[in-house]
Symmetry: C2
Subunit: 315 residues, 2 copies
Amino acid sequence: MYIVGVDLGGTEIKVGLVDREKGIVRKVSRATEVDKGPDKIVENIALAIKEVAGDDDFEYVGIGSPGSIDRKKGIVRFSPNFPDWRDFHLTEKVSELIDKEIIVENDANAFTLGEWYFGKAKGSQNFIALTLGTGIGSGVVANGTFITGNNGIGAELGHIVIVPEGPMCGCGSRGCLESVASAKFVGLHARELAPRYPESLMIKFAGDINKIESKHVFKACEENDELAKIVVNETVEVLARAIGGYVHMFNPEMIIIGGGMSKAGETLFKPLRERTKKYVMVSFRGTYRIEQSDLVENAGILGAASAAIFSKGVE
Amino acid sequence: MYIVGVDLGGTEIKVGLVDREKGIVRKVSRATEVDKGPDKIVENIALAIKEVAGDDDFEYVGIGSPGSIDRKKGIVRFSPNFPDWRDFHLTEKVSELIDKEIIVENDANAFTLGEWYFGKAKGSQNFIALTLGTGIGSGVVANGTFITGNNGIGAELGHIVIVPEGPMCGCGSRGCLESVASAKFVGLHARELAPRYPESLMIKFAGDINKIESKHVFKACEENDELAKIVVNETVEVLARAIGGYVHMFNPEMIIIGGGMSKAGETLFKPLRERTKKYVMVSFRGTYRIEQSDLVENAGILGAASAAIFSKGVE
C-alpha cells in the first residue's frame, strides 16, 4: 500500500503519494500560510494529504520538518520555519483530521533515510548523507544501522568544530562546519569580500552586491571569476577536512551530498573530491565516493515517506 | 567454559584464562623473544597458553596485536612490534601447536571490545574507546553495533586531522590526532621545548633532557611546573577538540580512555572534561562522560579474549 510523504516547508507544503518500489506516483503542493497560525498550517497539511491520496488508500503519513523533533512523541520542539511553535504536538493535531498514523522526523534524518530507500545509497550498509543548505544537516548509516546515538541526537556532523577560531555559530561553538560551509555562510562571506572585487561577476549575477547568494558564487566560479574561486576554494577546503574525518570515523562507501548548494554540481564536487584526498590516509584511498544526490526536488517527500517506513519497521 | 586471551607485546606475552562473567581467573607472562624469529614467538605463545590453562579446558583463543590485522584471514599484515612480519599467518601457526580455534584482532579493537564486555562500558549501546599510547587507537559502539565500516577499517579516530597545518604523521597526513596528542608526541614536544626551561621539573624527573617522556610531563604538571603545564594544556586542547567531534557524531554516553597516558589520571582528565565543553553544543551537555579505563594492566588480555567472544558471537 502507499505511504504519504509530507515535505513541510516554511512557504510551501509538498506532498507525495509514495510507493515503496516505484517512488512518487503523484504529488501536489500547497501554500503553508505560516502567517495564519498553527491551526491553518495543520489544515493545509490535511487538505494536501487528502488531495494527493484521492481515492487511493494509504498506510501512514511521514512528515519531514526542519528543527528539533521528538520523533517518539511526535512533537516539533522548535523549528526555524515556525518561530511560534514550541513543543507543538504536530502528529496529534494532524491525526485529528487524517485518520492514519502520523510520523514526524527531522528533515536531515529524513533526507538520509530517503537516500537509503530511494536514492544512490539504496541498500548501502555504510554511508553518510549531508545537506548543504541554509544550515548543514546530516545522517549516518554504519554497519547497516541508522546511527542516532544514546539520546537520539547523534550524527550532528554540521556542528563539529572544523576551524577552531572560526566564526560564531548559532549552536554556540566557533567554526563548526555549518558556520564556515553552509550556503548561508558562503553568501555572507562573498558579500563581505565583494567590495574589494567590484568587477566580480557574482555582483553582476546577483544584480546587487547585497543580494549575492551562494548560487551566484558558484555560477561566477564556473566563469573563472577570481573572487568566486577564492570563496569556493575556502568552502571546499573546510568541507574536505570534514569529510576526511567522516571517512576515518565510519569507513563509508559513499558520502551523498544534497541541499541547495549541491546544485552547483561539478563546480563543487570536482575540487571537493580532489581536496578530500589530502585529509584521508592511504589505507582509505579508493574506499569511498563523494556523490551528488539525485533525488533533487523529490528529496523532501521521499525522505518524509522513508522516515515513516523506517519508524514502522524498526521502532 | 573459559577463553584464553593473549596480549602480544613486543617484549612480553601476557596470557590470561578468562571467564565471561568473572574476568581473568589466572594469568602468566613470558618473554616474546622477538630476536629469535617468528617460529620462536609462536612457540612462546603456545607455551604460555598451555601454562595458563593447566588442566582446565578452554573454548578458543583470542590474540590482540598492534598493527594492521586481517581478522577474517587470521593474518598480521604488518605490526610495529614485529618488523619482519609481512602477511604473517599467525592464527594458522599457533593452531599447529594449540588445537583450538585462534582469533587475532587489532589491539585497539580488542581494547574497545574488552571495555564493552568487562570494563566501564559493560552493556553500553553507545560509547567510544580511545587508547593514548605511542599511537592512538580507537573503537566505536553506536546503537549497539561495533562500528567497523564498509571495509572493516573504520573508527580510525587517531588519524582524523585536528590541526590542519600540524606535524607530519606516519599515516601521511599533517596534524591528525595521533601526531599531536599521542604519548610519543607529548614526549617529543616536551624535549623540544625543555632547553628553554632549564629549571623544569620534567628534566629532573627524567634524569636527562633527552629522556623526557609523557609520564615525566604529567608528573611535573602535578607539581605545577610551568613547561609541563604548557605541554599538558596543548595536549588537552587537541584531545578536547577531537572528543567534541565524536560527541556530535555518535552521541555516546561515554568516552573511555586507556593506554599509557591515561595513567596520568585527573591531571589529564579534569582539564579534559572542562575543555571539551567548549567544543560541544548545548544540546549535548550532560549527555556524555569522559572516563579513565579501569582495566589497566588487564586491558590487553581481556580485550583479546573479548575479541574472540565477539568474533564467535557475531561472525
